[in-house]
Symmetry: C2
Subunit: 247 residues, 2 copies
């Protein structure tokens, strides 16, 4: 796989407000009929750019509550169905996240993931404990990081926007620079399919700061989505046609 | 859907130790080639009994850590693929769980779910808060409950075997009688597919008791799995050929 040049990239996004700026800047079109068959709520967009096929797939909306299907469960289901259908050479989870200022994060930064882990799966039985945390490396992309001057760090996932004391302790054990709600679930699916996986996370709120995450998140969602919009084209242009080892 | 008689039942189980006693008592055979295509780690078993088709599907083992793929992410992915492939008339999540003695639970009891909710998805933004908890009713099955003298209550799911203070508060807000790690994720998938969904949960440990859950869980896993083995045949015999409204 690593000698093959990258000809298709699947970009997975949880929220519509994160996805649409990417769809616009990449000039993608919504797939009609849908590429991810119902009843999956996922919505996909496709186009050709930089000589490769680009798909952006978002998790769609909750039928009962009308909000975006955030969290690891919809992320993993969408990822499974999208990888199966689209057979990408590279998967990138793109979205907003909390950042740790102790690891150099500031609002608006875009981080490249070095590894993925969970901070809300505590199973204190030997074997299950490591499975719960899961921790797995991202595909190394030192040239991409340098070319785009991205910060880098561990992305830790959990299903809450806030954190409990136990989450906090595991975030630190995971050496998390970035806290979000999807990437670890997707990394499990990417590992099953043996498909290279990266993540780009734009910081909306400071986890080890003074303010409640929901306040900062809503305040900075738009500007963080714009930061992702600025970075997505250079990232895709960089990876297009390269082998995984060249990243 | 509700006028159709039940001709196929999909039983979803997280752990091999929970699944094999069911497979044995129902005299099912492992599907070769697998019905759930790789790279999904799920393992499926099929047979005919009580005049209907019965499939038991477990989540399979973690490639990295060798343990069963427990938690909401593998449960939802397995459920999605299994429902898509097998098109069951009824889905039942069967497994072991913690029980609240304050809601009448004792070790070895088998509970029938009345509703499903999450206790570890805190998203304090309007709309997302309700999405996070998710709460959805199980298909009503008063005749089944009475015929088998099952206890009943809300099944609340989270990705940890233990609980944080925040989990505890949400377990109480959910009025949980049963705490486990899969059913809410499956209930999301069942809702997407509009397929009737039940759960049977056998109590291995008392959540509001004095002992660490991992101790009681390991001590009582075998006897709780036996309790499920005793109840599964009468449950399937009861539902076979009935309509959903007759349950």
């Amino acid at each position: 796989m690593e000698r093959k040049s990258i000809k298709s990239v699947l970009v997975l996004v949880a929220m519509e407000a994160e996805a649409l700026p990417l769809v616009n800047i990449l000039d993608l079109k919504e797939d009609v009929p849908p590429r991810i068959a119902p009843p999956a709520p996922a919505v996909s967009y496709t186009g050709e750019k930089f000589g490769i096929t680009i798909n952006v797939v978002r998790n769609g909306k909750c039928q009962l509550h009308g909000v975006d299907n955030v969290g690891t469960v919809p992320a993993a289901v969408t990822a499974y169905l999208a990888v199966h259908e689209l057979k990408p050479d590279l998967v990138i989870s793109v979205g907003t996240a909390g950042g740790f200022k102790a690891r150099g994060a500031a609002i608006g930064d875009v981080f490249l993931a070095t590894a993925f882990a969970n901070h809300d799966r505590r199973i204190p039985i030997p074997g299950f404990d490591k499975y719960g945390v899961w921790r797995i490396d991202a595909v190394p992309a030192p040239n991409l990081r340098e070319a785009l001057s991205l910060k880098e760090g561990v992305v830790s996932s959990g299903n809450s926007l806030d954190y409990s004391k136990e989450d906090w302790d595991q975030l630190h054990a995971n050496e998390a620079a970035v806290k979000e709600m999807e990437a670890a679930g997707i990394s499990w699916v990417a590992h099953l399919h043996n498909v290279p996986f990266l993540a780009l996370k734009s910081i909306t709120d400071i986890v080890d700061g003074d303010r409640p995450p929901q306040e900062e998140f809503l305040e900075n969602l738009h500007s963080a989505a714009q930061a992702l919009q600025r970075v997505i084209s250079p990232v895709l242009e960089f990876v297009a046609g390269k082998t995984i080892k060249e990243l």
